[in-house]
C-alpha cells in the first residue's frame, strides 16, 4: 500500500512535468494560459507539499497543522484555477467556434448559476462532523469545488456534443480529464466524513489514481494531436449548399 501510494504521489506529477514540457514545446501556453498555469501550480503544489510533509513527519505536534493548511490553501487555489480552465474551455470549445456565441452566452450563464445553486445546496446537506477544523474546511471546499466542476463540465460536454466538437480536440481531452478527476474527487469528498481518518489511505489511492488517469489523458491528447478530417467522395456543389442554407435560415427564424 505504501509503495502504491508513493507511486501514485510521484508518477502523475512526473507525467505532469512531461505534459508541461510538451505544452511549452507546442506553444499551447498561449492558447490555454489558464490550463498552463494550472499545470504549473500543480507542480509547485507538489513541491510545497513535500516541503511541508518532511518536517511534519519528524515533529507532527508542530508541523502537522502547517501541512494541512498548505493542503487546504493549495486546494483552494487549485479549485479556482480549475474553474478558470473550464471557463477557458467554454470559450475555446463553444463560444469561439460559433457565431452563436451571443445566443449561447446567457444559456451558459444560466446553467452555471443553476450548478452553483445546486453546489451550495449539496454542500449544505453534506454534514461534516467529527473532523478537526482544518480538515473540515478541506472537506467542504473539496466537495463544493468537485460538484461545481463536474456540473460545469457536464454542461460543457453536452453543448460540445450539440455543437459537434470533435473528440480529438485537445480541449476535449482537458475536459474529460478534469471530468474524471472531479467525479472521483466528489465521491471521495463525500465518503471521507463517513469513513473518518481510517479511510484516508483508501480514499487517497482513489483520488491519486483518478489524477493519474487524468494526466495520462492530457498527455495522450498532446502526443497524438488532432488531424485535419479527411473526406472522400463527391463534394457538395455551391447551389446545393445555398439551397440548404436558405432553408435552414427559414427554419431558425420565428
Amino acid at each position: 500500500m505504501h509503495f502504491l501510494l508513493l507511486y501514485l504521489w510521484v508518477a502523475p506529477k512526473a507525467l505532469l512535468g512531461v505534459t508541461l514540457a510538451v505544452i511549452l514545446r507546442r506553444g499551447l501556453q498561449k492558447k490555454f494560459p489558464l490550463f498552463f498555469t494550472y499545470v504549473l501550480f500543480e507542480l509547485f503544489h507538489f513541491l510545497a507539499m513535500i516541503a511541508a510533509y518532511v518536517p511534519a513527519v519528524f515533529d507532527p505536534a508542530h508541523y502537522l497543522n502547517v501541512y494541512r493548511w498548505v493542503m487546504v490553501w493549495s486546494l483552494g487555489v487549485s479549485s479556482l484555477l480549475s474553474l478558470g480552465v473550464i471557463y477557458e474551455l467554454v470559450n475555446e470549445m463553444i463560444l469561439s467556434r460559433s457565431t452563436l456565441a451571443q445566443t449561447l452566452r446567457p444559456v451558459l450563464r444560466w446553467c452555471a448559476g443553476v450548478v452553483l445553486l445546486l453546489t451550495a445546496i449539496a454542500s449544505g446537506r453534506l454534514a461534516v462532523t467529527g473532523l478537526e477544523g482544518v480538515m473540515n474546511a478541506f472537506q467542504v471546499l473539496d466537495f463544493a469545488s468537485s460538484v461545481l466542476q463536474v456540473g460545469l463540465l457536464a454542461v460543457l460536454l453536452l453543448f460540445s456534443r450539440v455543437l459537434l466538437v470533435s473528440w480529438r480536440n485537445f480541449s476535449v481531452g482537458i475536459a474529460v480529464g478534469f471530468g474524471i478527476l472531479g467525479c472521483v474527487e466528489l465521491a471521495a469528498a463525500a465518503l471521507l466524513p463517513a469513513f473518518g481518518p481510517r479511510g484516508y489511505a483508501a480514499i487517497d489511492v482513489a483520488r491519486l489514481t483518478a489524477f493519474h488517469v487524468c494526466v495520462l489523458i492530457w498527455l495522450c491528447y498532446l502526443i497524438f494531436p488532432e488531424r485535419e478530417p479527411r473526406f472522400t467522395g463527391r463534394l457538395l456543389q455551391k447551389s446545393e449548399l445555398e439551397l440548404w442554407d436558405q432553408e435552414l435560415q427559414r427554419m431558425v427564424q420565428r
Partner: protein, 177 residues
C-alpha cells in the same frame, strides 16, 4: 452517513455521464456518399399532424380524459422521435458542409460556413425543444408545452421539410420540397 453514500453515488453517476457525453462526441471526416446514405427519411405530414394544436384540441374534446392523456403522450413521444431524427440528419449536413468548406471556390466555402452555422442553430433549437416536448407528454393539461409547440410550429415543420428533402439529393432539395 446516508447522505455521504448518496453523494458518492452521484459522483459515480457523474463519471458515467461525463464518459457517455465524451463518447458521443464526433469523429470528423468520412465518406461523403456514405454520409448522405445515412440520412433518414422524415414523414413531414405525419410530423405536422402530431404537433398540430387543432388536432390536439379535437382529440381533447372527443376522447375521455384518460384516453386523451395516453394518446397525447404517445403523439408527443413520436414527435420527439422526429426531432431526434432531424437532429441526426443535421449532424450529417454539418459534415457535408465541413467537407465543402475545403473547396477551392471561396463562394462555396462561404456558403458552407453559413450552412454549418444554421445547422448548429437548429441543433441548439432541438436541445431546447425536446425537453419541453417531454414535459408536454407528461403533463398534457399544463399550458406550457402546448403553447410552446404552437409557438414553434412553423419552425419545426420547416425543419422536418428541409431535413426530409435531404434524402433525395439526386433530385435536389427544391423538388423534394
Amino acid at each position: 452517513m446516508m447522505i455521504s453514500f448518496i453523494f458518492a453515488g452521484a459522483g459515480l453517476l457523474g463519471l458515467f455521464l461525463i464518459l457517455y457525453l465524451a463518447k458521443g462526441l464526433r469523429s470528423p471526416g468520412g465518406d461523403l456518399g456514405e454520409l448522405v446514405a445515412r440520412l433518414r427519411p422524415i414523414d413531414v405530414n405525419a410530423f405536422r399532424n402530431l404537433i398540430d394544436q387543432r388536432e390536439e384540441e379535437y382529440l381533447r374534446a372527443h376522447l375521455p380524459r384518460r384516453e386523451f392523456r395516453s394518446i397525447h403522450r404517445e403523439r408527443m413521444l413520436a414527435a420527439v422521435e422526429y426531432v431526434w431524427c432531424a437532429t441526426r440528419n443535421t449532424s450529417i449536413l454539418i459534415s457535408l458542409g465541413e467537407a465543402a468548406k475545403r473547396s477551392s471556390d471561396p463562394t462555396v466555402g462561404t456558403a458552407a460556413t453559413k450552412l454549418i452555422e444554421n445547422a448548429l442553430r437548429l441543433r441548439l433549437y432541438a436541445l431546447h425543444a425536446v425537453p419541453r416536448m417531454y414535459v408536454g407528454a407528461l403533463f398534457p393539461s399544463a399550458s406550457r408545452a402546448p403553447q410552446f409547440i404552437a409557438e414553434t410550429y412553423d419552425t419545426m415543420v420547416r425543419q422536418a421539410v428541409v431535413l426530409g428533402c435531404l434524402q433525395y439529393p439526386a433530385r435536389g432539395g427544391s423538388s423534394a420540397l
